[in-house]
């Protein structure tokens, strides 16, 4: 069971899409898993033949559990999940509460009723007896058990509540463990917006670009210059080779999803827009693939037009940085001794001080700023 985010502890296997003997290659979808973030397609990251499925459908297992064996063509058996650290399981495994129903003095109950209540964790003080002299009978306890099950079912949480809990858990962990530092700069977006407007005139409605693709591309390019901000913290900084930007998509019903847009530095502006067109609607309807939920190496949050000017993000662990783009607003702008009104964008960086220092962060923001002054270079 792959970890689809720092907040995930377990997942329920809904469906196997392969059977023993099937040949699979990297990227194939082999199963559908139900998580706090909806139904996720699980991709395989090895090549070979499925030799055994170890988990049954509808089974809920902790992150790190081996789901299947895949034998490679060299007859070597590889555990599909071997690359995923299972450390979070032991850490967070909840201990099931065992309620011992003590029978307080003065409560009359039949022996059978007492035994049943103890087994099912029913508190006899809350049960009204219908027997002789108000004594609690077996029937009363059965009724109490039915009510208890019914109330549990009522408490079944909705998708948006479960996303709320997932966000809460990841963000609490972040603020508890990551010493954030914050930097901010303002960029004159005249050139970038003019370039976009020209670019869009030459595109069909369907291919039109949004300002966010230019921003993402500038972030990716700047990360190639400051790779220390692109990676994970796990007892030390681990730089990541691929630049996979986790893009915050807010859900209309509340909460956020952060799908990864892979290899942003290697995509053209149009390819990047196509990726966004594919991924945002799927994020909104919670139909993402496992690699899209687990492989982000940095996060970008973009408030978009009509919102406040500045956003300071909370890092999504184990990543080490989050870039925040506010809304572009007209502001007074001083340049070369002249005052003018320009479309201004505030860019912020929240970064992990264990991994980098302000000097790195500052160089990164200046690089983003420079790329936005030369949109044609993106």
């Amino acid at each position: 069971m792959p970890s689809l985010g720092a907040d995930m502890e377990a997942g329920t296997l809904c469906e196997w899409l392969v059977k023993p003997g099937d040949k699979v290659k990297r990227g194939d979808i082999i199963a559908v898993v139900d998580t706090q973030k909806g139904l996720i397609d699980i991709e395989v990251f090895d090549e070979g033949t499925i030799s055994e499925l170890l988990i049954k459908e509808n089974e809920k297992v902790p992150v790190g559990t081996v789901m299947a064996f895949i034998s490679s063509d060299k007859e070597r058996i590889i555990e599909k999940e071997e690359k995923i650290p299972a450390k979070s399981i032991a850490e967070k495994k909840e201990i099931e509460k065992i309620i011992v129903a003590e029978i307080p003095h003065g409560i009359k109950a039949s022996t059978l009723a007492k035994k049943m209540a103890a087994e099912k964790g029913i508190d006899l003080t809350t049960v009204k007896g219908s027997g002789e002299g108000g004594a609690i009978t077996k029937k009363d306890v059965e009724q109490a058990i039915v009510e208890k099950i019914a109330s549990k079912e009522e408490k079944k949480i909705t998708a948006s509540e479960s996303i709320r809990m997932a966000v809460a858990s990841a963000m609490s962990k972040s603020n508890r463990e990551i010493p954030h530092y914050y930097l901010e700069t303002k960029v004159d977006m005249s050139k970038a917006l003019a370039w976009l407007s020209e670019a869009n005139k030459q595109r069909s409605v369907k291919k039109r670009l949004l300002p966010v693709v230019v921003l993402l591309k500038a972030v990716a390019k700047a990360l190639t210059e400051e790779p220390d901000l692109n990676g994970y913290w796990d007892n030390g900084l681990q730089q990541k080779k691929d630049i996979n930007i986790g893009f915050v998509v807010s859900l209309r019903t509340g909460g956020v999803m952060i799908p990864a847009i892979h290899n942003v530095d290697k995509k053209t502006i149009d390819e990047l827009m196509a990726s966004m067109n594919d991924i945002i609607p799927r994020a909104r309807t919670m139909k993402l693939r496992s690699s899209e939920l687990s492989e982000s190496t940095i996060t970008v949050t973009n408030l978009g037009e009509g919102n406040v000017e500045t956003v300071y993000g909370v890092i999504y662990p184990p990543q080490v940085a989050i870039v925040g783009f506010g809304s572009i607003t007209d502001q007074p702008w001083a340049e070369m001794g002249m005052l003018d009104v320009r479309p201004v964008l505030t860019i912020t960086l929240s970064a992990d001080h264990r991994a980098t220092d302000g000097a790195t962060g500052s160089r990164f923001l200046m690089a983003v700023k420079n790329y936005l002054q030369k949109p044609e270079s993106l």
């Binding site: 409605v205 369907k206 966010v212 945002i280």
Partner: protein, 81 residues
């Protein structure tokens, strides 16, 4: 296409993009994006749909002309003439 038909199509498209909202309750002068909390990404999807379903291509400089239900309907009727 009558005004009513255009409105019906607009409501259908808005409902696709923002399923949890009630586009029919929009007042003629409500700002559609503000009222239904539609972000720039979904606004672009709406404009793509207008093109595909009604054959109305909206250049970027016209975005300001389609902010309210009344102005959007007028814009489409003008283009369909």
């Amino acid at each position: 296409m009558t005004e009513e038909e255009i409105k019906k199509t607009i409501f259908k498209l808005l409902k696709q993009i923002a399923p949890d909202t009630e586009p029919e309750q929009l007042q003629p002068d409500d700002n559609i994006r503000l009222k239904l909390e539609i972000d720039s990404f979904d606004a672009l999807r709406f404009i793509v749909e207008l093109d595909e379903q009604l054959g109305v291509e909206t250049p970027e400089q016209d975005y300001g002309k389609i902010a309210t239900l009344r102005s959007l309907v007028n814009y489409i009727m003008e283009k369909k003439k």
